[in-house]
Subunit: 429 residues, 2 copies
């Protein structure tokens, strides 16, 4: 009996697109050996001829017109890898309306328009697959959908941005300033020439929205994520953190609280014995806290052409299985509930605070009063180093509501002996 063939096309032949083509060329036979059908790459579209030529495919498989894939009746599955919102969103919508399954790695689009497109897919009895949009090669979307379907997830903690994790790792290991570590990351290809999206936390926030919806089954909005980048973190902070048993990571944190979802991205002190603390360099990990399984972690490369291509091709195979099996609900997309949001001010955290202060009588009393007024109690005080005439002070608070801490902080920074711009970093609790 000859095996049926499911045909897929690829729109966007950049780094990841080329990775998909390369991995398919290398392992396509291996994949098909294990299936009772074949998958076959029919066509690749990119506006840039040079990119197409670099794929080293026969000319008949190359096109500069995405419509040759999106509107092609011979193609069953479309991979979208052009990135950004438009024309990616319109292309995906058109492919779904044409009855094609779609595979994407587009995190900003999934964070902003994912639900509309998933609804559109359902209307057209096809599926939208996006395993590669969070965590690169790390199996994450499928485990969240399938393996944890019987569990209730309460919190998701992610190191989901490789650039910032690389920067923090090398600040700590090589005693570097943030600027030096960033330059080094750029030189080695772990940071883009314009690193804004990574360094300011936007990339992590997109991924958080996607994960939170899957984990909690509730609607999350990008605009409701509190986002703080890594620019405020210095080598001195990393060094003090280590001294008190912590490392610093940029965390994407999603919590399903009684009042609604609390979503935030910010640098955090992570206890050295927490599994997330040993996630180094450009690697990513997502830690999940739940009712029945209690704790799970998924770890691996969050980016890179080849790792991301493994996730994309696994989605192509799942889409092909849906076609073979005539199943429209192959991906078990949860029906999202509307829910409230908990603003950052209403969440609780412990805080690390480092500042320089003129060493004169009465300063500590003013400081203590500012905290006492807002009922912020201190867990730790370190003063052991001088910078010129100034004393360096590190404080760690007990758990306190964010807005109370911020009020106390305003009062503290008004004390004339305390120099402006203290370092303020939350602790993972």
């Amino acid at each position: 009996m000859s095996k049926k063939t499911v045909k897929f096309g690829l729109v966007g032949a950049g780094t990841i697109g080329k990775g998909v083509v390369d991995l398919y060329k290398r392992n396509g036979n291996l994949i098909n050996k294990n299936l009772d059908f074949n998958i076959s790459l029919e066509k690749v579209a990119d506006r840039d001829q040079e990119r197409l030529q670099a794929l080293d495919l026969e000319a008949a498989k190359l096109t500069t017109d995405a419509a040759d894939i999106i509107d092609n009746p011979d193609i069953d599955i479309v991979i979208e890898l052009i990135g950004g919102i438009e024309p990616a969103r319109s292309f995906i919508a058109r492919a779904l309306e044409n009855g094609k399954h779609v595979v994407t790695a587009n995190k900003d689009m999934m964070a902003r328009h994912g639900q509309d497109l998933i609804d559109l897919a359902r209307e057209n009895t096809v599926n939208l697959f996006y395993e590669a949009s969070v965590g690169g090669a790390i199996p994450l979307i499928r485990p969240l959908k399938h393996n944890l379907i019987a569990d209730r997830i309460s919190r998701v903690l992610g190191i989901v941005n490789g650039t910032t994790n690389y920067i923090f790792t090398h600040m700590a290991q090589d005693n570097l300033s943030l600027d030096k570590a960033l330059s080094e990351a750029q030189r080695l290809g772990f940071a883009e020439s314009d690193p804004t999206n990574d360094v300011e936390g936007l990339d992590a926030a997109y991924k958080l929205v996607i994960m939170a919806q899957l984990a909690f089954g509730k609607k999350a909005e990008f605009d409701q994520v509190y986002i703080e980048g890594i620019n405020g973190v210095t080598y001195e902070d990393i060094s003090y953190a280590r001294e008190i048993g912590y490392t610093i990571k940029l965390l994407a944190i999603g919590e399903d609280l009684p009042e609604g979802l609390a979503l935030r991205v910010h640098p955090a002190l992570v206890p050295l014995e927490h599994p997330l603390a040993s996630v180094l360099n450009e690697l990513n990990a997502v830690f999940i806290e739940s009712e029945a399984a209690k704790e799970l972690m998924f770890y691996g490369p969050g980016a890179g052409a080849m790792p991301t291509a493994t996730a994309i091709l696994s989605d192509v195979v799942e889409a092909a299985r849906c076609i073979q099996g005539n199943i429209s609900n192959g991906v078990v997309e949860k029906k999202l509930e509307e829910t409230g949001f908990v603003p950052i001010g209403a969440t609780e955290a412990r805080f690390y605070l480092r500042f320089l202060v003129e060493d004169r009588a009465g300063v500590f009393a003013s400081l203590a009063n500012a905290f006492a007024d807002e009922r912020v109690s201190l867990d730790m005080i370190i003063q052991k180093r001088s910078v010129g005439d100034l004393a360096e002070v590190v404080l760690v608070t007990h758990a306190v509501k964010e807005e109370a801490f911020q009020r106390a902080l305003s009062k503290v920074t008004e004390i004339s002996a305390i120099k402006p711009d203290p370092s303020v970093i939350r602790l993972l609790n």
Copy 2:
């Protein structure tokens, strides 16, 4: 439109079986909310009436006869949780022949008869699901089957036995002997009253066979796994290991080598910076090395009623989706190749060796000659502690073929000044 219901039955109401019933009672509605069909628990069988009563289900759902489930035409999916080889194997075979999908957590049976049962399932166009057989709640089987289908895995490293990991963790943290740590584990329910299967490495070996077949797509045999338990590891070894930057773990190691599969379970020194080093207490993790994704790790609770129940119910949902979609190849079981096996003697490792020696002239020369004869070169020598009149010596070799090391070791132990029964532990390379 009313939703169709897929009915499942459960054979075996022990700890895990009760966990499945409890989790279904708690979260069944949540599961069904996210599906376009319902799953429904129809019947539970156990020979022990007391266990059945403890489930707190209506009497009509309870039976002491497994046939009421296996041969029941109303039941679509059978969960087997009686454990052991027989009658579990026969029950599963009969259920498959009756056209039912089967879900099992039975690792020893899957390691010994899994392939035959998977073939039998295929013949009957149904599937056998076994996510819970390795790593409890950790998504592992499904990621290996689906997410990594486009990748080539070269090595699997697992901490897959919670009892031994708990013992090693507490020997290290609380400075305990192995016996004391084992008693503590038994007291807290992390070790069984007869811990043989765990402590001697059999449990880990069963799981290794299951993982190796999935990871490499090649046939693995339980009898070809080299198995060494944890009894030879002392507190002193753990302490020395830490001093040189390692921790000790019981590892299940599978490698896909040009000459065939190399499968082994033994204690190993794991570098402290390796992600597996921070897997503590009863937790499990599986670390995967592959061509495209490079490195992935899956971490979580490897046992326990509730965690294991999440894996079982996720399998029930996948089985139900197969029934709904009329798909027989829902699980993408790889067609296993026959392959050779690499015996432990032909593998390479670095070795840690600790022994007591009479402190007299010429001993080190004899020792050095024994190693030199077999071309075993040393990376590290520590001698700093005396035990009575004897000196304690710790050596670490460079990478060497196992059989050459064993020959050298025989010669070393023949030296009269060296006391018998040295500690010998491989390093993870």
